[in-house]
């Protein structure tokens, strides 16, 4: 079983306690009413979906219930880092 580090519980916990919650660092536009359909589509539906490192929101739903962010490699399914909501993307260094 995958162990995921929860930044709020400050320890590795089993993946069954967590739930994926979509791509992270997507800012909701402040001028929502003025967006064109194309711009709204881009904000609302279009996700990066890369092969490699993704930044995602996760929720420790059966634990502390908090949302946090994680950097995960979609190829190896390895969690490279997890960090609290509101913190900037971590520096993952080279070669990762």
């Amino acid at each position: 079983m995958l162990l995921i580090h929860c930044p709020y519980c400050e320890e590795d916990r089993p993946e069954l306690e967590f739930r994926h919650a979509g791509e992270a660092h997507i800012a909701r536009p402040e001028n929502m009413a003025e967006l064109s359909d194309e711009e709204f589509e881009r904000f609302f539906f279009i996700r990066s979906n890369p092969k490699g490192i993704v930044y995602e929101r996760w929720r420790h739903i059966h634990g502390c219930a908090r949302f946090f962010n994680a950097a995960r490699d979609t190829v190896s399914d390895r969690f490279l880092a997890t960090y609290k909501t509101g913190e900037p993307k971590p520096d993952l260094g080279k070669g990762k």
Binding site: M1, Y8, C9, P14, L16, E17, H62, G63, C64
Partner: protein
Amino acid sequence: MADTIARASALEGRFLNADGLTLVRAEPAARLSLRAPKTAIKSLSKALGLDLPERPKTSSAKDGRAALWLGPDEWLVIDENQADLAGACASVAEFHSAVDVSHRNTAVLVSGARVETVLNAGCPQDLSLDAFPVCACSRTVFGKAEVILWRTGADAFRVECWRSFSDYVFMLLEQATRDR
């Protein structure tokens, strides 16, 4: 003549003592789901008469009353004497949310030398004494149900779950006890 309706609590009369393990339903207790920011912790601790723990996975207990850390701003308060917990918090002026969940939850007391193995049948957490010491508590999963584990002794746990899941939790515990 009107028939009288007797109230039956969840898990009433359920008991198991087998293979060195005991499962017993906890006595009814008052419970409070408490959410509060840091600024209210001091006054709430004073009103409840015990320090709300601020470290992950920790609890504090005093005179039959306990506060379990569930999240950075969330606690489960249990009072075995069925005191009015929501009433105790009502005098606190700081912003907080206190919801009485006494009848939402029920608990199974699990004790015996094999307690870690039995709980690990449905709970994926490391429950060894190093990782989960006495007085530690955590919301987690047990099989398909969400539970709150609270270690009350080296070989004793209190398993809090919603009453609608309690039959499932008890049956899974029974099954795990008999599996050797």
